[in-house]
Amino acid sequence: MRTARSRHAVSGLMIGLTYLAAILATLPLILILGHIVAKGASSLSLAFFTHMPKPVGEVGGGMANAIVGTLILIGVASLIGLPIGIGAGLYLAEKRGTPFANTVRFLADVLNGLPSIVIGIFAWELLVRRAGFSAFAGGVALGSMMIPLVTRTTEEMLLVVPTSLREAALALGYARWRTSISIVLRTAMAGIATGVLVAVARIAGETAPLLFTALGNQFWSTSLRQPIAAIPLQIFAYSLSAYDEWHRLAWAGALVLITMVLIISIAARFVTRSRFGAAVD
């Protein structure tokens, strides 16, 4: 039988270890962000946003085409992912408990866990094998990743809406679809906006699905039928290169990308906190 003192010593030690784990777990984020800001900021200039990439050996240049390319890809992906995702989320929230809804929910979770490279070769097989690399194929790949993400967050946000609100609208003679769209969906809007932002943040930095679809482009292109540049693709290409100048640009690209992603993620947090809370009260 161990003494009370040794048991308390073990307890104190283990609790101390959880404190240590908390410190160790926050360390990587601080380190990564610190390095990106330190190395990226010194390489960032106005030219980065307005100039095109320069050939090897020339100093300077920017990622104007990749920044625009990433925005276009996010746009195409959102056009595909948002309506389908929100529609599917509405369905899941309303038909909760039916076998079909359960299957869809489960498969959406499974899709969320699929490696993005698998989505990439799927989009290649579907669109690129015959028609060639294109921004559209990249958008489809990213959109396919968005659908299950948006479906699940929409469903979860809709479930928070009190049933009494829905019942009140129906009692007032609202049709079911109008109740869903203008009462339930509207009440959950802030929450759904959060889900959408999180999904956008997630796909904005994706590289693997774009490798064999959007491909990347050294030149200016906004056509959906042509290969298009994207910030993550550019970072990948530059970090594999042997030139310091390109490494500098990769860090600057990482800083821009991460700023974008973090602003969206933090915005997502505040949208829910401020407005969604008020809507439910």
């Binding site: 308390h8 073990v10 307890s11 104190g12 030690l13 283990m14 609790i15 959880t18 784990a21 908390a22 160790l24 777990a25 926050t26 990587p28 984020l29 601080i30 990564i32 390095h35 990106i36 389908i84 529609g87 369905y91 899941l92 809804a101 869809v104 489960f106 498969l107 959406a108 499974v110 899709l111 866990g113 699929l114 490279i117 698998v118 070769i121 097989e125 579907l126 659908i147 479906t151 049709a175 679809w177 109008r178 869903s180 930095g205 994706e206 693997a208 490798l211 064999f212 970072i235 990948f236 970090s239 594999l240 490494h247 990769a250 860090w251 990482a254 991460i258 992603v261 973090l262 993620s265």
Partner: protein, 326 residues
Amino acid sequence: MTSLPAEWLEKEKDRRILRVEGSAVSDRIYEVLTAACALVVPALVIAIALAIFVAAWPAFSKLGLSIVTTSDWDVRAGHFGAAPAVYGTLVSSAVALIIATPLALGVAVFLSEFSPTWLRQPIGFLVDLLAAIPSVVYGLWGIFVLIPLLREHVMPFLRDTLHLGATPFFRGAAYGPSMLAAGVILAIMALPYISSVSREVLLAVPRSQREAALALGATRWEMIRDAVIPFAKSGIIGGIMLGLGRALGETMAVTLVIGNRLEISPSLFAPGYTMASLIANEFSEATSDLHLSALMAVGAILFLITLIVNAIARWLVWSVSRSQAR
């Protein structure tokens, strides 16, 4: 209260009836539209599976199981043995889980049991933010910060100072790009998934469970070990499986730090390869139909493995939340 004119009531009744009938039609349209959206999800899963398995079929039928059992990957000779990539995928993910699981559980227990209230939000947020950092950014950081750190400090420390060089796992020259580097990067990437699921299932453990343990004279650690963790066990395992799913399929960060060499070596200091990086590196330069199909086959195997891991993970997490709902 004044009574309403009878004819107005009559008209209003007709209008309501019309509206109800009209809404029956629009309700139907609404229902079909949302159901169609929902149908896209299973359709997508089936389409992905079909597209990849059909494209992989020539390789499967010609090479059979030798894709995963042999180690000779020679594009020109038509040999496609991806065993080193399968090995690398499994080992790098295992290393990641060995590093990430204790850390993630530590954070989850800290946040659910011991953290001062004011620290709970910020630390949870910081750890969750790790999941928001793009994979390629991890890779960039891995090449220029993590790898030099491992090569100059961590690897020599493990090998010489701790004398782990005597074991086969930490032997050989420390070049930098290695299975260890991939494992460390993957650990950082899997950490937020494991910790956020664990934190949620720990928070869902009823207070009475904790109070009963403390009332029986358990210390706070004994309470967690004997009363809280067993209750949340399958949810925690689900979280670990989710992290595993992430690690198995992670592409960009691993491609940048693992060294991309198709060799099986027991040493974590040696470079390796993963299935996802093999696809990422060779797919767009595939020279022959068989090469392409072999890469698709590697993708198909990766698809199956992650599908199974994720399905088990979801089922475990779901079974916990269901038992708590009762």
